[in-house]
Symmetry: C2
Subunit: 406 residues, 2 copies
Amino acid sequence: MLQQRLPADQASVRRSNLSLVLRHLSENGARSRAVVAVETGLSKTTVTSLVGELQARGLVREIGPQHAGAVGRPGLALALDGSRVGALGLEVNVDYIAAFATDLAGRVLIDRRVTFDAMGSGVERSLGELAAVTRRAVTELGATGVTVAGITVAVPGLIDAHSGVVDVAPNLGWHRTPVAVRLTDAAPGVPIAVGNDANLAALAEYTSGVAAGTADLVYLTGEVGVGGGVISGGRLLEGADGFAGEMGHVMVDPSGERCGCGRIGCWETKVGLAALVRTVTPEHPYGLRDGVLRDPEERLAQIEQAIGDPLVDQAIATVGRWLGRGAATLVNLFNPRVIVFGGYFARLAGRLIPLAQAELERLAMAGSARRCTIVASGLGFGAASRGGAGTVVERILSDPTLIQIR
Amino acid sequence: MLQQRLPADQASVRRSNLSLVLRHLSENGARSRAVVAVETGLSKTTVTSLVGELQARGLVREIGPQHAGAVGRPGLALALDGSRVGALGLEVNVDYIAAFATDLAGRVLIDRRVTFDAMGSGVERSLGELAAVTRRAVTELGATGVTVAGITVAVPGLIDAHSGVVDVAPNLGWHRTPVAVRLTDAAPGVPIAVGNDANLAALAEYTSGVAAGTADLVYLTGEVGVGGGVISGGRLLEGADGFAGEMGHVMVDPSGERCGCGRIGCWETKVGLAALVRTVTPEHPYGLRDGVLRDPEERLAQIEQAIGDPLVDQAIATVGRWLGRGAATLVNLFNPRVIVFGGYFARLAGRLIPLAQAELERLAMAGSARRCTIVASGLGFGAASRGGAGTVVERILSDPTLIQIR
């Protein structure tokens, strides 16, 4: 099909109407052209033309006759297709790389996690491993007839979303790392975006987690670092540069300890996994080398096994109370209905949540705290890559012209 | 014109298309029906029908022939009208009541503030005075041919937006006060909404303040209490119950002083006007009676006159630094491009902002702080009532059927 040249205005109206029709089918299910026209207010001629283009892009297919109700004759029903369109999410974190892929309708095609010491390997080897994981996923999908339409990479750091450059990822030791550009060879011609891991995990919680559909939701992740993502009114809170929701370095105690970031009294110094390890073994900070936490998984397992030891129980309780104090700040500022604990907070949820919830209710402003519940994430470590795949689907629904006409 | 009975779906599509056309004219200026059809993707028949209804509602008028460009013949240009549609914002605060009214195109019709001791008068007399101000504004507008289409009342407290009930307004002494219901007699048949004063002031800053159009903006107001409102991605951040942005009671110092709210170390105890007055006159807390600040305007004037006195300068500097520390939290969580200081922070801006900006840059996460600037509000005390009027205009643009057919 010949690409029409339209004036800028008309091209953008066309794009937004393609999106309107595709999203309408995605959200409301199969229906005829006539019904789509009535329900969207677009003319029948316009709908017919839009549907033709969506079919040519492999995003919509006809599934047989459907009765249109009182307003029209029966017509061929249209449905979202996209079974040959793949959305790939990747995540690189301190000690693993994860990949998650779906088709446009959300069917899971890949869900995998490989252990990899990104912190110890340095930026070059980490980017090489990430490229290898990417190449393998693209090849696998291709072998089943699925073309990857977009990739989003989750990184625990501040990201310049426009350029796909990681500004800084302290726990990986990355600075000004051009992730998107460096992955181009592994997936030629595929648009690659980079996002903050906690923001993407928050999106995954919103679409498929324990509190899915909760329009005002805060996701908090406890790993070596503490990060977060905020869904407000059903949308990810991004801020001017995509840096919103950086909770770990909110100052909660001006007389507190020095944080890894150089500041005093960051929330991370109270509730991060390194803080817990330090409190549990004050005389001998096993697992800490040069102030950096090694083998966080193993340290966490040791702490779980030591539950019952008064020192350990007390340290966990202290973290729980400080979680509640910080959560009160989040409630005052974001007024969420749910706070989802991820990472190690989810692993120790039975101990942490009751104390955190009580402290939250004691400290948050009256109205909102009463109605905010802390829950543990059930998505596990795949959350950020799952969220990454979700943003690719969302981008296609917003602009179907990203998919080439076949 | 006979009201057509449409199925629920179709009625809602019709409403959203009326809004689409009205907003298109509001944002892009006068143009013909043919151009509106091309630019929105609606059919010409639909546009003609929608425009007819908007004319019947007094929201659109024809202003003469306009050439439609290459795509069509010249047609009569349509423009947003609404000169007979009034939007009224009201604000009740500790020591004044303000009223601000515009027509649909934003022309200012009323901008007034009356001194009133709402804190000392109690809820019944305050509601009576608010009703009197409302009645007077509605009568005045009516005398010039303007019908009030909606009212929004700004209150310094937590509001249940659905019911128009003030949950709690600590500095007014209001609890579970049904403001919207109580004003019904003063403006029969007019929809009345109630909102948080700082949220509405943030909206006013976004539409007409010193940083107008900045899509990521935090507004912070220093009065007896400290409040705030957040614009994120061009939208007011509301949270699940409209309680988002309650900055005054964010805990910043667990070893700090007890706040009026009963908690320890709230930001308000560091930067509120009462805290400044207390620090300036530690031996004799003039202006404080039973811990409550009387005549805040007069206290502020005294402090301004005493600038140069080392004790006063030091107290103001301390407030400036604590403003920067709290601002760093706001930057980490909301990543705004601008923080607007309102209330007494604006009055003392020359002293407060340099210190606050320096502390912000020292404490906020690298990426975002570099690009966040603190500025003083220029809107003065009318900001919240102006924002209230703005929300009424916005409601009409979103649902033109709120305006009765004449």
